[in-house]
């Protein structure tokens, strides 16, 4: 509770500082609107439903692509760790593509799929997939061989060993890769949404883009605040519980 209070105090101080800067009149209010104006924009956008629907569109794209990338990346990572032939081919490809900034997929996706949901989906999957493959592969290679040997003496072999020994033993690495994959996916989706208009749904990236077009700084800042909030929530809801679990079991952190 004390930590929550401290965080609240910190952010309140940030807003007060912001308001003071605005009142100093040093910058034009067009460039630096008051936090109250940003708050009013967020309130109005919530009331007229545009903010909520844009958030839903974006989160849905992100979630679908991310889950798909995860479901594809996890088994592929296990396979590249298991079979040398896959490590030397698919593993190498993944290593190369993981280093590619995922926004680079946007032009290709547009040419292949046009301005459609499929293009968005593709970009998010490409953002997720490669880092999940690399992390899973790396995690499996870091599992102490003694675990598999001990499991063999207890009658575990083949798929059972992979599912119940290798995979859980690699979890600390895998969760790290999932987090990185999520960050890449989130960034590339935002880039794609700012870059192109998809008529089947206006996401947060579009609101951001139109904020710029209309010189509506309160909209730009407001949407950025929403993006920040989504990033924080995703971490707290999806990743923190996993990390707590791992730290508790492995005894790696306080």
């Amino acid at each position: 509770m004390k930590r929550v209070g401290l965080a609240a105090l910190f952010f309140a101080a940030l807003f007060v500082g912001w308001e003071l800067l605005y009142r100093s009149g040093f910058w034009s209010p067009v460039l630096l609107p008051s936090p109250l104006v940003v708050g009013r924009y967020l309130w109005e956008a919530t009331v007229d439903g545009s903010l909520l629907s844009a958030t839903l569109v974006t989160v849905k794209r992100l979630f679908l692509g991310y889950v798909f990338g995860l479901l594809l990346g996890l088994p592929l990572g296990l396979l590249t760790a298991r079979f040398r032939v896959l490590a030397d081919t698919l593993g190498l490809l993944a290593l190369g593509l993981q280093a590619l900034p995922s926004v680079c997929w946007v032009p290709l996706a547009l040419l292949w799929f046009g301005q459609t949901e499929a293009a968005m989906f593709f970009v998010v999957v490409m953002g997720t997939l490669w880092s999940v493959i690399i992390a899973t592969d790396n995690g499996v290679r870091n599992v102490p061989p003694i675990y598999a040997r001990a499991a063999r003496t207890m009658g575990s072999s083949g798929l059972h060993t992979w599912l119940w020994v290798i995979f859980p033993a690699a979890l600390p690495f895998i969760v790290g890769g999932m987090k990185q994959g999520w960050a890449f996916a989130w960034r590339s989706l935002m880039a794609a949404e700012i870059y192109v208009t998809i008529l089947s749904g206006f996401g947060l990236g579009h609101l951001l883009h139109y904020g710029r077009e209309l010189n509506a700084m309160e909209q730009v800042i407001g949407i950025m605040l929403v993006l920040l909030l989504i990033g924080l929530l995703a971490d707290k809801i999806f990743f923190s519980p996993w990390e707590r679990f791992l730290h508790r079991r492995w005894g790696t952190a306080k």
Binding site: I146, Y147, T153, M154, G155, S156, A169, G251
Partner: protein, 270 residues
């Protein structure tokens, strides 16, 4: 199936036979002759300690008996049945406890039981609790591995090895990384459990005193290539105290033989 059936000691302990076993490891340019024509028997319910300096092939032999590796030539059998894969009748305790950090203590002990057919989950749990009681860890069912001391980890590993009710226990320097006091407690425990549970035990160590304390028989190995040099019968009454004078006498004799057989530059632990 009831708990008493599952943990019964009615099945006789197994007899192991090792005949003309050789094993070579090749890595790159180097080839290590780990075992050269090794033969000996382990009787039913016998406690045999394999002693020797590093590189004498004693751990290699244990892995072969476990079925984790295969011999280049020769044969190893348990009750006349050739060993070519791991089996639940031969459980292994490693130097590192090799417990799974994602499972709690009870989960670790139940891991091997999950692979054992014909048991309900409730029975598996009962069996696991039985063995955790036997090693004195009944209060730690839900502790995580990193919360345990080194000695407690090895107790969990012992319970895990005992849980499928194997006839043979293979122990690869299980107490090597523990402090002296904890080791002494475990010497007592392992002798008690061996007698109560009627197991055949093959115990690898480089600690001669430990071997004399635990073994009915001590088999002395020398390295490069790994060969059996001498065997010593230890007929002291049990439970034995590692600090007793008679035990020290046996240990001194074995150490003298060890120094005799091993080149002086090879490392020998006391």
């Amino acid at each position: 199936m009831s708990l008493s059936d599952e943990v019964s000691v009615e099945r006789p302990a197994a007899k192991l036979s090792i005949r003309g076993v050789s094993k070579r490891f090749v890595s790159g340019q180097r080839s290590v002759h780990a075992l050269d024509d090794v033969s000996f028997d382990v009787g039913e319910g016998e406690f045999v300690c394999l002693v020797g300096p590093s590189g004498c092939g004693k751990s290699t032999l244990l892995n072969l008996v476990a079925g984790l590796d295969l011999a280049d030539s020769g044969q190893i059998s348990a009750d006349g049945i050739p060993i070519n894969a791991p089996g639940r009748d031969r459980m292994v305790m490693f130097q590192e406890a090799a417990l799974f950090p994602w499972l709690d203590v009870l989960g670790n002990v139940m891991f091997g039981l999950h692979r054992k057919p014909g048991l309900t989950d409730a029975e598996r749990r009962e069996v696991a609790e039985f063995y955790l009681r036997l090693v004195g860890l009944e209060k730690f069912h839900h502790a995580f591995v990193h919360e345990l001391s080194g000695g407690m980890k090895q107790r969990v590993a012992l319970a895990r090895a005992l849980a499928p009710n194997p006839r043979v226990l293979l122990m690869d320097e299980p107490f090597g990384a523990l402090d002296a006091l904890t080791r002494e407690q475990l010497y007592g425990d392992i002798q008690r459990i061996w007698q109560q549970r009627k197991k055949t035990i093959v115990f690898v160590t480089h600690n001669v005193r430990e071997a004399a304390c635990l073994g009915d028989r001590v088999v002395l190995f020398s390295p490069h290539p790994g060969r059996i040099r001498e065997q010593f019968k230890i007929d002291l009454p049990r439970p034995r105290d590692i600090n007793s004078v008679e035990l020290a006498r046996h240990a001194t004799a074995i150490t003298a033989a060890l120094k005799n057989h091993v080149r002086p530059e090879a490392e020998v632990a006391e």
